[in-house]
Symmetry: C2
Subunit: 390 residues, 2 copies
Amino acid sequence: MAIKKLAILGSTGSIGRSALEIVRRHPDRFKIAALAAGKNKSLFKRQVEEFKPKVISLSDEKDINEVRRNLSYSPKSHCGDEGLLEVATCDGMDTVVSALVGASGLAPTMAAIRARKDIALANKEVLVMAGGLVMEEARKNKINLLPIDSEHSAIFQSLVGHKREDIKRLILTASGGPFLNMPIKKLSAITPKQALNHPKWKMGKKVTIDSATIMNKGLEVIEAMWLFDMPPEKISVHIHPQSIVHSMVEYIDGSIVAQLGPTDMKGPISYALAYPDKRIDCGIAPLNLCEMDQLTFMEPDEKRFPALRLAYEAIEAGGIMPVVLNAADEVAVEAFLERKIKFTEITKIVESVMEKYQNQKSKTQNPKLNQILEADRWAREAAREIIKQQ
Amino acid sequence: MAIKKLAILGSTGSIGRSALEIVRRHPDRFKIAALAAGKNKSLFKRQVEEFKPKVISLSDEKDINEVRRNLSYSPKSHCGDEGLLEVATCDGMDTVVSALVGASGLAPTMAAIRARKDIALANKEVLVMAGGLVMEEARKNKINLLPIDSEHSAIFQSLVGHKREDIKRLILTASGGPFLNMPIKKLSAITPKQALNHPKWKMGKKVTIDSATIMNKGLEVIEAMWLFDMPPEKISVHIHPQSIVHSMVEYIDGSIVAQLGPTDMKGPISYALAYPDKRIDCGIAPLNLCEMDQLTFMEPDEKRFPALRLAYEAIEAGGIMPVVLNAADEVAVEAFLERKIKFTEITKIVESVMEKYQNQKSKTQNPKLNQILEADRWAREAAREIIKQQ
């Protein structure tokens, strides 16, 4: 096996750090060619010193210059959106770990695909916003697009070797988050601190709040639709509080193939990085099913989790509506974290912005990148307006 | 897809009848070329009239002649061991459903492999007794050997598309049978009627009793060892009383791929018959995980289930010892069903015969068919002797 050369978009985030742990453990399999991060310059500098990438980038010019001055070697350094593109497309690199948060990862991921890099995709908004475009480019450029979400990795692993036409449906599991059993009328009083305390997974803030509202699962349904080319009616969601079965595929003969594993993102990350070569031991404690809680599954309660309905409605509306859903959610989650709105208002704001879009804007069924980015800006602005008026 | 032409060894048994149900449902995929059964001549006659195979066979000459006289057409008819061989090797047939009970299926299954027929194998004793020989012939003749056991079908479905060298271990699940929670000291008083009342699966008598002693799982460990070419230390057993997860494969990165399904043998049978073509809807009610009991797993209790230890000991001893285990078990189960011995004596008799073999017989590590059949006869006789002395 040749050593795989990686670029990481978002190296100081939760996924980026885990990816680097795997690289550290397997220098015979991986090498870091390029790193990009946002504002965490002290951690970024340590990462750069350790892995010695040839290309580096941070959001601010001042930060990258400061990091560069104190390095023991001289990589090519960049900043801002341009820097993300440089990292995502640099020469002599095979695979981009796309692990930025939110809409910012879309353009560099598209650029990486066009530069014929394989993609290990953690940044689900890339597919939520531009699934049609991204998958078309991926096909055209014959690259591998491997999911880093635990759910989509589970589906990928439950699909390989089986026939597409045999699929009855995909079943995404959702932990249900920390408020699965809280009386519904108490949900409005939830604080950011409570919502950030996910019972099963350690993740970034945005995705943790999205798990609590279950919007995360809505985004994942959209992601799965594009990634596996499945119509929404063939994608179901089961609440599975133990987060052990990461997702499943049901086949037409009644057989269900499922992937189980520890709740550690190093599992799906290492699978995506290693694919299609031999799997790697990423140092996770193995799952002992005999020492675990019973496993349970239930249908999601629509009253408790309106976000899931909104996601299916966005898919139904098609075109740009998933972009609107995603952008409004990003703004609303931020406002909730800043204590500007209540927990239950997150999905209400998303719904209001979707309604406003439905009434005001012309519909585009196969949006281009500029239309997507414009809709993204519009929906953010619309969400901010609504929040201001609260 | 060409229509697959099937021969069924054991058409009136539980697996044979289910296979015929599937064929009945999918005349566009399957045709019955040959049928063989034992003594149930009335059901056999109805099956022959319905499916019009060209070759038929029953155990007794008198029975097959009687059936033949009353048929509306004239198939080639045979009887006894010779008849099984004719059915297993007849011309213009693609796949043999090997669903006889016990040692009787070994010779016809070997003959079928040598005649380059694919095998859908329900008759686990074929591999338990002669796994080395059978797998060697299967490789040499380049045939597909598909398991019909629910556990091995689950492992097969959890392995396709994945890499052999990535496997950490196979995990066979076992329901634990009807006496999982009975106080151990009460086990000796169990009646055949109690033991035949399996909580999850409707199966033949022999395999139902073997499920109650868990000897069935021991035989399946041996079967898995041959079928998937795995050393015994890479095969584990988990008790899983709900029988929903039919078995699993754990990979070196901590990922576990599992197959779940309804407790209906038509699932694994249809998978084996359809492979490698498109799966078929076999009319089983789909599994609704949200309406089900919690799923639990536990380590098997060796005191309650000595059979599992005996199976691993037989593997450890190697050579002919699994033949001895299997033959002694067959005789002991029969004696229990005839109320000649107690439930707890089944495994004691197996252990005694294994000890006797260990002390008396010369060891052969790569037994030939005649040595296997001789050891089978010897162990049956030894078991009968012990039962007589009780």
